[in-house]
Amino acid sequence: MKTWLSQLLRVVHAGDRSEAVITGRKIYILPTRYGMVFGVLLLTLLIASINYANNPAFILTFLLTGAFIQTIFYTWRNLLGLHLRWRHADSVCAGETSHFHFQLFDPGGRAHYSIQMGFPGQESMMVDCSDQQYKQVALAMTAERRGRLHPGRLTLESRFPLGLLRAWCYLDIPAEAIIWPRPMEGALTQTRTANNSSLDGDRGTGTDDFVGYRGYHPGDSLAQVSWKALAAEKGLLVKQFGGDRVDQLWLDFSILEEPDTERRLGILTHAVLKLSTQPVHYGLRLGDLEIQPDNNERHRRDCLTALALYGEAE
């Protein structure tokens, strides 16, 4: 029933480039509470003017009536011709708040004031769009679960200029946010490839060849202290060793201890978030999907997206 009703509604659909244009026929308009009070006021003024045969009072009444008629038009026009473009949505972890970023503009350059926009059940935001700007609006939405978040039908409304009428329209935008699983701490069985030697291996601090001394930093392993140097009263020196090695790590869904799928995903998410800040190339094995080890922004995002969309029905 509800869907049938909602099909009856005139809704603005986004064209290509995720851009929706508000045309006249899609705008609904009705008086607000104050508009009705104003109507009563006009009627009262009219009756009083008739009764007292007071012509200047007629003039005021008719002028206000004219203003009311005009405001119907102006309120309607305040929405007309607005272009709304969906840019992107912030990907966040489940439980956090994502923001859907829209761009509001009018290529004709007309100013639109006090436009209120919001998703069903969420806080609405008010914005002005004037001076040929591209107005950026970010609507917040709490993400409950991982996966694709569809915010629902967007409503734009305005009561400008006089607040006596309310004009609104519905927009269906193909907006979605990818919500990552909630990160969880957990045991991570790692598959580490042994010594992937290469010509350009680093001389990182490892266990193989001695490469030199450096000053002792609190926290260094005592096993690496050069006792000989200390005995020779040269101070606390630490031996450094290098190795031809690049760290590579595989995160594998199937080998995790945790039985529950969601928790597994959470653990992996946590791991990805942590590893992306370290000088490690990490890869992901998730069901049929295998992402080669790497370490950059796009890689991080690909892994998290894969985790977010795991198990999505085709």
Partner: protein
């Protein structure tokens, strides 16, 4: 979804704007309301802005209740329940003041604005002049702008922009207003009546005079009435406007005497003059027709003395049509009138009686006596002055023989006394004489300073004939109005001879005429627009078939049609906020280049644009360079000389490919 703005607290500009507008709206009411009410309103406003100047805090609930109780008390104490206007307006103004004290959210501002509109409309119950109407419209534009600001999210709404938008909205309402005003049906009787009262005070004549009562009036430049003549405009010597006829003299005062017989017509004995009089409020029933009126109009009463009046006092400006003739056929004098016309008081001196006898001997016939009397006034050193010396127990005697300084009433009453002494029935007539023709409007303006007293004597074969002794002493008075200035005791009157006093005074007097004309037109077409006049207008427009319900229907249809037209027209209006003339003309310049075939993207900077354009149109390279250099200087340079924008505009306009 819920309105995000409505619960927000008011911003300071909204609060101060609302306060200012409400004070301005209520200001003209101070003259109508009891001082305590005005004081209470002022107190409420002051309280708000002194103690709670921040827009988001307002007076606490207990204070509001207290003030409400005080207000109710004031109203009950002060109000005159019979004066419906005062009562209602008092309540309204106090409510408005309390709302100002109380408001703190944007929702409250709606209530304030609606209250404001009401307060403004009530002003029309008291005043209807064009000036006040303009004032009301201006303040209501302000309220409309305030409503707009209420619906803007910004805390500091751009006042100039909002006022401009509100003004455009009001102007856009003008067509609908004119249409509805012309077509909307008017009722002749009110739907219900509420005793409106119209304030105390009478102006102009009272129905008894004594020496000095008319000279009291002569300082007032207030308009008494205006006349528009349909056919002939009578010369100044025939511009006598008949008010009251006074028969009875008790030695000091002249009064009208007892009951008069109503009369329906007088027969004209000369060319009939048709005219229309617009009278100001006098709160008296007298009308002042041109001497001598022929028949009363509808709703008017006339008596055998030729006095005319209404059943009710004139409470508001009122227009009536009249027909008069300078001379009417004489009738027989009844014996009662004969007696009344010869009545004399007790305080007539011997000297006066002797003078009357001398006049009779000189004149022989009644007419001769009249002439002899007039000669006496003319030849003896009589002075016509606005501030004559006060007279004592035998005023006529003192005036005729001692002071010899007087105003029209002195001459008229003493003349009548002499006539009566000479056995000629005579009576005093008070009214107005003269008037100034408004060169711009073509109507005659008669002021209180034109008030006059003259005499009538009954001559065999002619009936009651007018004799104006003032003419014997100061004939200029008949031709010209009295110059408005202060007169010291006993100084002679100067007459406004209408000579040019230089450019400035001409301009001033033109402006005065203009204003006078405007006021008359305003009254005629707007304030006095009743169903009769509406029918007249519709007839002239050829829409005479519209009456009754058809009128109302056509009003509604017309309004809808206009609304539709307006929507259609406005949908092409870009509604662009034009803050940026420089950008506008630069765009136009680019448009011209584009039309000439140059491909420019909106991301091309001005210098690059200049380079490309100069390559493409080498003949215009100089112009292009000038334009772009100026643009760069104005747009990106440190000085913002707004004057140079004008030069830029003319350069762009003059640029042609």
């Amino acid at each position: 979804m819920k309105d995000v703005l409505i619960r927000r607290p008011l911003s300071a500009p909204l609060l101060y704007g609302g306060g200012l507008l409400m004070v301005l709206a209520a200001l003209p009411h101070t003259w109508n309301l009891a001082p305590s009410i005005s004081a209470a309103f002022a107190l409420f406003v002051a309280l708000r802005f002194v103690f709670w100047p921040q827009s988001n805090k307002s007076a606490p609930g207990w204070l509001m209740l207290l003030l409400l109780a005080i207000s109710i008390g004031l109203v009950l104490y002060q109000a005159d329940f019979t004066e419906g206007r005062q009562f209602g307006v008092t309540l309204l103004v106090l409510m408005a003041g309390m709302k100002l004290l109380e408001m703190k959210t944007r929702r409250d501002l709606y209530v304030l604005v609606f209250l404001g509109y009401f307060v403004l409309v009530t002003l029309f119950l008291f005043y209807q002049s064009p000036a006040l109407t303009g004032y009301v419209l201006a303040i209501s534009t302000g309220f409309t702008a305030l409503l707009m600001g209420n619906n803007l999210a910004a805390d500091k709404p751009p006042a100039g922009l909002l006022l401009r938008k509100a003004l455009m909205m009001m102007l856009g309402s003008v067509p609908v207003t004119i249409l509805l005003f012309v077509l909307f049906p008017r009722l002749d009787a009110p739907l219900w009546s509420l005793n409106l009262g119209s304030g105390a005070g009478t102006t102009g004549m009272s129905d008894s005079i004594r020496m000095g009562s008319i000279s009291d009036l002569s300082q007032s430049r207030e308009v008494a009435f205006r006349v528009r003549f349909s056919n002939i405009i009578p010369p100044p010597s025939q511009r006598y406007w008949r008010g009251m006829v006074l028969w009875h003299n008790d030695g000091r005062n002249w009064t009208r005497g007892r009951a008069h017989l109503p009369k329906t017509t007088f027969r004209a004995a000369a060319a009939v003059v048709e005219y229309e009089v617009t009278m100001e409020t006098t709160n008296q029933p007298w009308l002042f027709p041109l001497d001598h009126v022929l028949a009363p109009g509808s709703g008017m009463l006339m008596n055998s003395d030729g006095e005319m009046g209404l059943a009710q006092p004139v409470k508001r400006r009122f227009t009536w049509k009249g027909r008069s003739a300078p001379v009417v056929e004489g009738e027989r004098l009844s014996s009662r009138e004969w007696q009344l016309g010869l009545q004399l008081p007790d305080n007539i001196s011997r000297r006066t009686q002797q003078l009357a006898s001398a006049l009779r001997r000189q004149g022989h016939t009644d007419e001769g006596v009249v002439q002899a009397a007039l000669r006496y006034f003319n030849q003896q050193p009589f002075v016509y002055t606005l501030q004559p010396p006060l007279l004592g127990e035998q005023p006529v005697d003192q005036f005729l023989f001692e002071t010899r300084k007087g105003f029209c009433e002195h001459y008229a009453t003493s003349f009548v006394t002499l006539m009566r002494l000479a056995d000629i029935p005579a009576r005093v007539v008070v009214g107005y004489q003269g008037g100034q023709l408004n060169p711009l409007g073509g109507h005659l303006v008669v002021r209180q300073s034109d008030a006059h007293a003259w005499a009538e004597v009954w001559l065999e074969g002619k009936g009651w004939s007018r004799v104006d002794p003032t003419a014997a002493v100061a004939p200029e008075r008949i031709e010209h109005p009295i110059a408005a200035q202060d007169y010291a005791d006993g100084s002679p009157i100067r007459f406004d001879l209408g000579q040019a006093g230089g450019l400035l005074s001409d301009m001033l007097s033109n402006m005065r005429w203009l204003r006078d004309n405007l006021q008359l037109k305003w009254h005629y077409w707007v304030v006095g627009f009743n169903s009769q006049r509406q029918q007249n207008l519709l007839q002239k427009l050829g829409l005479s078939s519209l009456n009754g319900y058809r009128l109302g229907l056509s009003a509604a249809l017309g309004a809808i049609a206009l609304a539709g037209l307006m929507f259609f027209f406005l949908s092409f209006w870009p509604g662009r906020a034009d803050h940026d003339p420089l950008g506008k003309y630069y765009r136009r310049f680019r448009h011209k280049l584009r039309k000439g075939g140059l491909k420019v993207s909106p991301a091309t900077g001005p210098e690059d644009l200049a380079r490309l354009a100069m390559l493409a149109f080498p003949k215009k390279a100089g112009d292009i360079r000038d334009i772009i250099q100026l643009y760069i200087r104005l747009r990106y340079g440190p000085d913002t000389q707004t004057k140079a924008v004008g030069r830029f505009r003319s350069l762009v306009r003059g640029f042609r490919l």
